[in-house]
Symmetry: C2
Subunit: 489 residues, 2 copies
Amino acid sequence: MVVAGRGIIEAMDPEELRREGVRFIEWLADFHERVESLPVRSQNRPGDVRAQLPQSAPQDPESYAEILSDVERIIEPGLTHWQSPNFFAYFPANISAASVFGELMSAGFGVQGMLWTTSPSCTELETHMLDWMQDALGLPVHFNSKGEGGGVIQDSASSATLCAMLAARERATEGESNIRGLFGGAPLVAYGTEHAHSSLEKAARICGVGSSQLHLIEVDDQLAMRPEELDRRIREDIEAGLRPFFVNAVVGTTSTNAIDPLPGVAQVCRAHGVWLHVDAAMSGIAALCPEFRKIHDGVEGADSYTVNAHKWMLTNFDCNLFWVRSRAALTGALGLLPEYLNNRASASGEVIDYRDWQIPLGRRFRALKLWFVLRRFGLQGLQALVRGHVALAMEFAGWVTAHPDFELSFAVPLNLVCFRHLDSDDFNQRLLERVNDSGKLYLTHTKIDGVMLLRMSIGGANTNRAHVERAWSVLVATASELRAADEGA
Amino acid sequence: MVVAGRGIIEAMDPEELRREGVRFIEWLADFHERVESLPVRSQNRPGDVRAQLPQSAPQDPESYAEILSDVERIIEPGLTHWQSPNFFAYFPANISAASVFGELMSAGFGVQGMLWTTSPSCTELETHMLDWMQDALGLPVHFNSKGEGGGVIQDSASSATLCAMLAARERATEGESNIRGLFGGAPLVAYGTEHAHSSLEKAARICGVGSSQLHLIEVDDQLAMRPEELDRRIREDIEAGLRPFFVNAVVGTTSTNAIDPLPGVAQVCRAHGVWLHVDAAMSGIAALCPEFRKIHDGVEGADSYTVNAHKWMLTNFDCNLFWVRSRAALTGALGLLPEYLNNRASASGEVIDYRDWQIPLGRRFRALKLWFVLRRFGLQGLQALVRGHVALAMEFAGWVTAHPDFELSFAVPLNLVCFRHLDSDDFNQRLLERVNDSGKLYLTHTKIDGVMLLRMSIGGANTNRAHVERAWSVLVATASELRAADEGA
């Protein structure tokens, strides 16, 4: 198969791309026809995949027929099907044909977007898409690139939060921490609640602030931050000689979709000159719909904001959207210009070089898929999807409430339902495992104040009412079976 | 176009994937037929792309015909063609049809690889591919997952270096820095040379160590680190009460492909108990060929090592390969387990959860493309490609040496040729700009001791002798024109 051709070997053959590409497209289309019938969570045992693979890389070329046959035989059974309409675990990661085509084109172009000059389209389309999304989500105009702010695509909300924290660290230390490090200064302190995503603590560790300088603020009965407690703690810390520098507020916590009160939190941050970062990783997308835009009340006070197009907006991972009020604060923290990257366009100051807005240097052309999705569906299509998922979640919550053996654990603001069987934690754990082992659906859990809750996250691209209804039937029937077995024992 | 269908809207329609997918595949194949004829560096001016885009996202769906027509009309002219056989700038980022298919399948599956249980194939294929590559590159067996080490795919060598530094920081502070932060302790010190990649300094800043605690070690006349100077500086720093914790050695610097002497550097690191990280971002791939494997002499002393499959191995960005001698050191630095991610498989200890090996939480299925490339070409195909590029670089270096107006600046160990016209820096700058403005080829520069050098990086998937010969002809002819114009002026 390796022959002398255009290059040293036939490394990138357009004819091969044309001929064999159709084979992969056909296979994927077939896969999506049948994904609903596959077990949702992989039934594999640890090591099942590796046991079927040769011990070392082949010396000689193999055919695409062999490769694709192994994908079907070895890889597919080891997948947990995030694209199944019966997937209700963790968070949605819904995708669309439009997004897959965007990824295909990005891969086919094979360009690097580290600097404007290394592919102007890659940078400019990204800036433009972030401006479109700032507008579509009703975010403050100070995040638009026309002013002093702007947006960028990151791989994940974790990285966005880390970048925000680094920008805040630089601002708080007036540029000292990048140069002199953190040794010797008074401890910097970050704030959040215990319900913030684990990436907040990870960021505090990575940037040298440390877990013990992440101060957790008390929450109310809906697990939302109490602004007056934030204020009290910041004053106390200043009194103690510490340096408060960063507050992380959440719009839709991972566990239960709790929403921190942004107006109150922002007021406290402003009073103390502390950077406010808003993490709306999944839930922020709901703001595409005017009727849900209230989740963003108070976001005018944010210095940075992040949401994932790759969760609930039909766009493939990775496509995190991250905005800052001040581009200069971010590039001041992350910019470095070695001579080998110096170029006329960068020197002119007329362009954005996104390498200075992120941890890595290299970057893919990720804006393409976002552009494709926005055009293929239009904002109205995406709004219809979000509305539909929220309506299904409300309906599911109603079934839970009406059932004598189950209870709703928290109010349902959007598409996540937290609930439990009235029996013990152990019973709920067994219920979860038996349902997931069946392959019929997949859902996950959390613990709040030590109590086990089941999480039903509704957001599949092809999930409709029938799937949600069936999920509820399976849960109810499985609970009855377990109860009967427990009573028989 | 948005109709009621399987889901709430027709969000992921297999028929659409099948029908429209062929359209994109055909377009990409045509693009690769003609990419050689396009200007290599985009001729766009800042703002050209954005000026052609609507001010806000569409409310209604648009057709794929419209989208693809805009890709051709707006996006393509704004691309710098990294896949052109006339691209000799920065570093290679060569791709192949096999890799594009791997990306396509990864996008089509749309799974999350953050935990083993969220898709066992994603984790196990990755571990297996890293074991294959450890063997294929002749790397020490302590990096193989069978022992206490193992490998992982990161987005970039920048992130790999940051992760290595974080693991080293935790080891040096005995787990204190993640919890207590860096405040109050004696300064930690990292080491490298001024020719190390800028990501080394960026990592030192991010993790709170600071640029001024990155001590640059003197180099020899080939710009390689002097181990005796490293030893001297570490002793001096210990004497001064500082804590040396991390040494970054480079196999193939970005500017000139200099190679730090690993045996001597490793000996110093071992003597002082300092973490040794080896950054072989581009050049490490040469070790696929036994005759170039000497670049890895001494790598047995490394605690971590990184190389990019996405530079010189026909694999799409992002596909950085990163190995550590001790998995526990890495996961000790980056691991965190919130309840909502807890699951049976993780609790069993039998599986790898790659979220604990990286900065972000989420991760794509990137091992697929690497598997496809290794199987489609076999190691022999990849070796032939590397050998061919190195031979072309040697030949180009010969032409430079033989020409009375040009000089070779450094020995050429692999596929990068650093050279200059004997005229002034200003002349070389104008030569570079005129050549790049012509669109016929694209190359970049660096400065060493203030002197401007041109960099000819040979590694395109479809680059053959004719392209390299033409590049040289254009350089020589353009230099003559400039000289004639200067003399006429």
